[in-house]
Each structure stands twice: as structure tokens, then as C-alpha cells.
Symmetry: C2
Amino acid sequence: MDRTQAADVVTAGFLVIGDEILSGRTKDKNIGYLADYLTLLGIDLSEVRVVPDIHERIVEAVNALRERYDYVFTSGGIGPTHDDITADAIAAAFGVAIDHDPRAVAILESHYPQGQLTPARLRMARIPAGADLIENPVSKAPGFRIGNVHVMAGVPAIMQAMLDAIAPTLRTGRRMLSRTVDADLPESRIAEALREIQKASPGVLIGSYPRTTDGRFTTQVVIRSREEDLLAAAAAAVEHAIAAAAT
Amino acid sequence: MDRTQAADVVTAGFLVIGDEILSGRTKDKNIGYLADYLTLLGIDLSEVRVVPDIHERIVEAVNALRERYDYVFTSGGIGPTHDDITADAIAAAFGVAIDHDPRAVAILESHYPQGQLTPARLRMARIPAGADLIENPVSKAPGFRIGNVHVMAGVPAIMQAMLDAIAPTLRTGRRMLSRTVDADLPESRIAEALREIQKASPGVLIGSYPRTTDGRFTTQVVIRSREEDLLAAAAAAVEHAIAAAAT
């Protein structure tokens, strides 16, 4: 029996919105950052989807993810231009109205010099009804949270600042602990031993990652568990198996 | 009316399989590479999903993507260890048997010295019934294609080599042409003009990407179309709008 209780596990899905990622023009930096961030918080990132700037595709993906995971995070598509359609799509996904939000308007009014809050900029104050704002210390235009969905900017520096604003509000689970063991062997040499250790180690996840080091095939074995004692026992077994295979 | 015919458009979904991406341990390099590669070929990458090493999740995602797009590409989970479950999941998704494939066994037999083709390594020859092999010039263990799904390794060098092997077999569409115009202005200054140009430009996709350059907010406008004349006209309109906004 896995001793980890389901109540200890908090899950998340991440939706990356933007043609520029799918065309290759922009190389995503947010997936890896969010994955690290949530792992440290004690939230399991369970799925990522990348969809284009198409209303129906955003609606469909956010609805699929929000039903399935404790939290959903999105990045991209909340700026002032015509291709920034995320806020409207989120409102549609939740079946709520969207309009200029007085709190968001006030933030933008205090940020832009008199007369420079153009209609395009004001568009960044369109927030679905019932949403809370997420602070944006970088460029002011806020993100928002509605239900379990957190809507953030795509620009990495802004997304990262918004995550810092969100983090204290999130329920977190028991943190997944992790240990990495390096093996100076190709993974096929330890595959059978790892399979046996995995079978004998409930509550532990053993991952085997092949790499090349100085032209040789080597392996990193990553052992993960929420229980320190289970982790230590499995790691010791892996180290033993690697030593045995190397002789 | 959009002059681009549907017959000219070939779409793809990409499924990245692996706990290590979702935990943040490994930073994905395959999404951006595949996006660039398919764009150059004339195939539209339309969706990406990242799922963990869980059988049901792989089956579900590959079935969702293969029904929806002309091609599906997967990366990850085809090595010799217990956490490499992609081949079995793909067989289950297609409802076909899976066993050691004589062609794949022959490749591994000719690669490994006598007596070193262990059961773990032999596991890499498990291929769903009816699949074609995809050559792996790097470490020999092949990928495979079944139906419209192409199953590749997760290690970037191997995935890239497998893509080169696959590319000549793919049907491609009319290539999406692209032009980038840099604006030394925040995007909110040109947002209204871009919206008008987008509205007046069927067959053209205009994307606006905010950035910071030397501490100033600047913008890259990316104009995309399959028609060179439509692209040129929209790009000229964008350049004109930027020049007007800058004065």
C-alpha cells in the first residue's frame, strides 16, 4: 500500500496559449520554470497543453484541465492587442460576463500618465465577472484568478512575478522528495535491477534517464517519494544495484 | 474569404511523455525544435501535450490527438527500463498486439556484441503489430510509426535524427510564410492599428509580441500567411502604422 494519502497530493495543469510557441518563433521558457516552482511548493504538475490563439481551443482546453486538476495555470494572451483573447476565452469557459473591471482600471489609471490610457491599454482591464486580480509588479496590467484557474502573462519575467503573488494563496501538498544517483553505465545494464526495485518499492517512483557523458552512455536514476524513509531505502537499493552492475 | 485551401494545410499534434519534464528535472528541448522543423516543412503544429509516465494518460492523449490532426509525434518512454511504457501504451491506444519485432530484434542483434543483448535491451524491440520502424542512427533502438502516429525517443539528439528519417515520408502543406517587423514602441501604441489591419487582411495572421529592449518596452510584430502577396501587403500596412505611431 502506498502510504501517501490522496489528501496530501495537490495537482495542477498548465495551459500555454500562443501561436508563437507552436510556430517555433518563441521558445517556451515557462513550462520548465513552472514545473520547478510547483515541485518546490509541493504541487504536482500533472499535464501541460499548448494551444494556439483560437477562442474555441482555449475554452476547450481550460475546461478540460480545470475539471481534472486542483489548479490550472495559464500563460499568454492577456496583453492589449487583437491577438490577446485569453480573458474573453476564460470568461466563456466559465460562462460569465466580461467587462472593464474598476479595480483593474484604477491600477492602469494610476500607472499611465494622464491621457495615455488608450482604448487598447484599457482593454487589459477586461476581467471576467467574479475574478480576483493577480498583481503584476513588472508592467502593472493584472492577471486574474477565477475558480481554480490562474491567468498569467506569457512574458517570463511577468509570469514569474505573478506566480510569486499567487503562491501564498495556494493549497500545497506534501512535497515530493527526490534523490538522483548517477551511474557510469548505459541504462540497459541496470534496467532489470531497477525494475525489481520499483516493484518492491510502493510509494516510490524510480525514473531512469539515459545520457551521454564524454561520449559514453551513462544514466541518471531519479528516485522520488513523499516519504523520506522510503526514499532512502530505495536509493540505497539503487546504489547497491549500480555497484553490482559495475563490477 | 481566405484563399488558403484546407487541402494546403497539414496539421500535427505533439505528445511529450515523461515525468521528468513535469517535475522540472529535465527542461524540454523538443517542443521548440519540432515546432521549427514542422514550420519549415509546411506542417502546422496545432497542439502540444505533456503527460506523465502513466499508461492510461498516454493512451488517452494519443487517441485524442490522432483523431484530431493529420499527424501525431511523440517523444519519450521508448528505452529499456521499467518506466519506458510508451510502446505498450501506443499498442493499447490502437487496440493491437505488441511483441518483439523480428526487424527490430535484428537491428539490436547486429548492434550489440554477442551475448550482450540482455532481456532489458531486447525490450526495446517490442513494437506494436502493423507498425513501421523509424531508423535511429544514434543508438540503434528504433522508433516506429503506426497509423498517423510517429513514436520517437525523448533524448533530443535521437529525436532529431528520427525526425530526419521521417521527414521524407510526410505529406506537407503549403508553407506558412512569415515576416517580422520590429517596432521601437510598446505594443499598446500600435494595438488599434494592428487590429484594423488584421480585420482587413483575411488569409493573414498578425501576432504582436511585447518585449523589453535596453529597458524600453518594444514590440515584434509577426505577420504570417501562405500567400506571398497577402503577406507583403499586410507587412507594408504594419510598417506604415508603426511609422505613423512613432511620429
